[in-house]
């Protein structure tokens, strides 16, 4: 019985919230939707007069904002996710009027703009009806409960007054029947309110979600961008390796062979001098080796090749000057590019922890969700980190996005900072490797 009471209470609360939310729809439709539609008509007509060129983009942007607000409502209120379908803005020219024209053209060429317009036209009546219905039902229901009863009590019930199916009300029984109908109406209103919101969300998805074609266009532009970035990054990486080898190990080997050659010459005439040169040669070789080691670690860390992501992440954690708890749950090995990207992402995040966070401890969690490889790095530091603070996380995000991966950063002031990275992937060679420890 108590359970039923709880169910009823939560159902009523749910319905009431949905009803109030629903009331926002007609308000938005009348206060913004209708004027925006008129602005469309007006600016289209005035394009000829030139004013439209200014008014039109404003109208389109306002429509997009309203549409995106409704996309958010659909997600948050009814769990109907609607992606934003607009094409990315092109590179504009600097010249003012030309720029404005390019902007208008970009927006007018996007089919999503026209679908928005269609939605706007339909949203005014649809929002009005779906949004008002539950509220109206409840209001009428309350009227049925209160008004006949009140008028009867006061004895001023006008002749021919009625409510619902009871028309007119003659006896006191009729009054109670009206109250019953009123209660029924209130219940119906509360019951249908969430469904009305859902129907409204589905209607919004019909026109506001990207079409299959728009999705592909967005995908192509994403791939084009990440491909360009990847190609650029790789070229820069190769240049860096070439420069490091040229100025580092290569130069040192030249110096080394020179020292050895000189020592060879000196060995009979000046054994002490030859010895000094050989010492010098050994130092050169040591430095060359150490530079090569750093270079190799930057290209593909040996520990990653030897132990996979599991061992490599644990080795990273151990190398940090603060205790790091690692928790790895990997049922197999991901593809090499995924491993490498996540390794360098982890290295960057952990370096940030050591350098900037001031944290006394950190946690690394690596797991496979079934579709994604997920890496979370959390610290107990001061927080306030941002992607734009030159922490290198921007570069990590770029590298991950080339593999359709994502990076999310949460770092409120006073911490804790959490960096969450995900890459979609499949694992090969299933083996169970689960390890958890503090390094």
């Amino acid at each position: 019985m108590a359970e039923f009471g709880d169910d009823l209470r939560s159902g009523v609360r749910h319905g009431a919230v949905a009803t109030v939310r629903g009331l926002a729809l007609p308000v938005l439709a009348l206060a913004l939707g209708l004027p925006l539609f008129l602005a469309w008509v007006l600016s289209s007509v005035l394009v000829v007069a030139g004013i439209g060129l200014v008014l039109l983009p404003l109208t389109i942007v306002a429509t997009r904002n309203l549409a995106t607000l409704h996309r958010r409502f659909a997600t948050e209120w009814s769990g109907v996710a609607i992606a934003v379908p607009y094409r990315p803005a092109p590179a504009y020219s600097r010249f003012g009027p030309r720029r404005a024209w390019q902007r208008v053209r970009w927006m007018l060429r996007d089919p999503a703009t026209w679908r928005d317009l269609l939605w706007l036209l339909a949203e005014v009546p649809v929002g009005l009806v779906l949004g008002l219905f539950p509220g109206a039902a409840i209001a009428t229901g309350i009227e049925g409960i209160v008004v006949p009863q009140l008028l009867w009590t006061l004895g001023v019930l006008p002749n021919g007054f009625g409510f619902g199916t009871i028309w007119p009300i003659r006896t006191h029984t009729d009054v109670w029947l009206a109250v019953g109908e009123g209660v029924l109406l209130v219940l119906v209103g509360l019951l249908v309110a969430p469904w009305m919101l859902r129907v409204h969300a589905l209607f919004a998805r019909l026109l506001l979600a990207p079409t299959r074609k728009a999705e592909l266009v967005l995908r192509v532009s994403h791939l084009t961008r990440t491909r360009t970035e990847t190609v650029d990054a790789q070229a820069a990486e190769l240049r860096r390796i070439e420069r490091d080898l040229h100025d580092g190990a290569q130069a040192r080997l030249v110096a080394l062979s020179m020292s050895i050659g000189l020592a060879e010459d000196l060995i009979t005439r000046d054994p002490e001098g030859a010895r000094a040169l050989l010492v010098e040669a050994r130092r050169s070789s040591g430095e060359a080796l150490s530079e090569l080691r750093d270079l190799v670690a930057g290209i593909h860390p040996p520990v990653l090749a030897e132990r996979g992501l599991d061992g490599a992440v644990r080795a990273l954690a151990m190398a940090l000057p603060i205790p790091v708890e690692t928790d790895v749950d990997l049922p197999g090995r991901p593809q090499a590019p995924v491993e490498s990207a996540l390794y360098f992402a982890a290295a960057e995040a952990l370096t940030n922890v050591a350098k900037h966070s001031g944290a006394s401890a950190a946690r690394v969690r690596l797991e496979y969700t079934g579709t994604h490889l997920r890496l979370a790095v959390q610290d107990t530091g001061r927080g306030g980190a941002s992607l734009d603070a030159g922490t290198g996380l921007r570069g990590v995000a770029r590298r991950l996005s080339a593999l359709d991966g994502t990076l999310a950063l949460s770092s409120p002031p006073d911490g804790p900072t959490v960096v969450l990275m995900e890459i979609p992937c499949v694992l090969s060679s299933p083996k169970t490797s689960r390890s958890s420890e503090t390094a």
Partner: protein, 214 residues
């Protein structure tokens, strides 16, 4: 002193054989892959083994794995592992059987012939020889964890040099203090790490292991 050597690059293998032979080591077998290494270690039972981490067939870390496996079969078998890079993770795995007789050095260290040969002898005698690179990274660590957090900076320094495998006299020379002072530091370290009195060598290994785990 009988040595088993595992190194897949012929050039380096020959160089190491020449080097060790010049210092009166008897290289009983030199192998170039992990399965032969395991067999050589268990049949020859050498006084010390010098092993490259990366070996055929998969060129990952089978040298290390073979060393650990051989030590499981022949407890305390002294192994000196060489690698192009050092990882604290590997050092800990090598030491985790607490039996001592473990070395883990960068390949570069071979060029300091005298020091390298000392390291081989020290490992053969049951001591440790951790690469200064591993140790320096450990020294950079600020740890709040008990019991390592209770060590003074000087004691941590002494512990680092112990991990490299240096004798009390060598540590004293390095830190410009008397050998007696070093002995006192070391006793403090053993005390703070809660290592019961036992054979000194073993306590040193345990202290180093605590250090790597900290």
């Amino acid at each position: 002193m009988r040595v088993v050597l595992a190194e897949d690059l012929a050039l380096l293998r020959d160089g190491l054989i020449r080097l060790l032979s010049a210092y009166d080591f008897d290289v009983v077998e030199a192998v170039d892959n992990a399965p032969s290494l395991l067999r050589a270690l268990t049949t020859h039972r050498p006084d010390v083994a010098v092993i490259d981490v990366r070996l055929p067939p998969t060129f990952t870390d089978e040298g290390l794995r073979a060393a650990i496996q051989a030590r499981a079969e022949v407890p305390g078998l002294p192994v000196l592992v060489l690698s192009q890079h050092v990882e604290q993770l590997y050092a800990r795995e090598l030491l985790s059987d607490r039996a001592g007789g473990v070395g883990y050095l960068l390949k570069d260290r071979v060029s300091h012939v005298g020091q390298f040969v000392d390291s081989v002898r020290r490992v053969a005698a049951g001591g440790t020889a951790m690469d200064p690179e591993v140790v320096s990274r450990l020294l950079a660590r600020r740890t709040a964890d008990e019991p390592l957090g209770r060590l003074t900076p000087r004691e941590r320094e002494v512990l680092g040099l112990m991990a490299e495998g240096r004798s009390n006299a060598a540590i004293a020379g390095r830190l410009f203090v008397t050998e007696k002072a070093v002995g006192k530091h070391i006793n403090n370290i053993f005390g703070k790490l809660g290592l019961p009195p036992s054979e000194d060598d073993n306590r040193r290994v345990l202290a180093v292991l605590a250090y790597l785990n900290g």
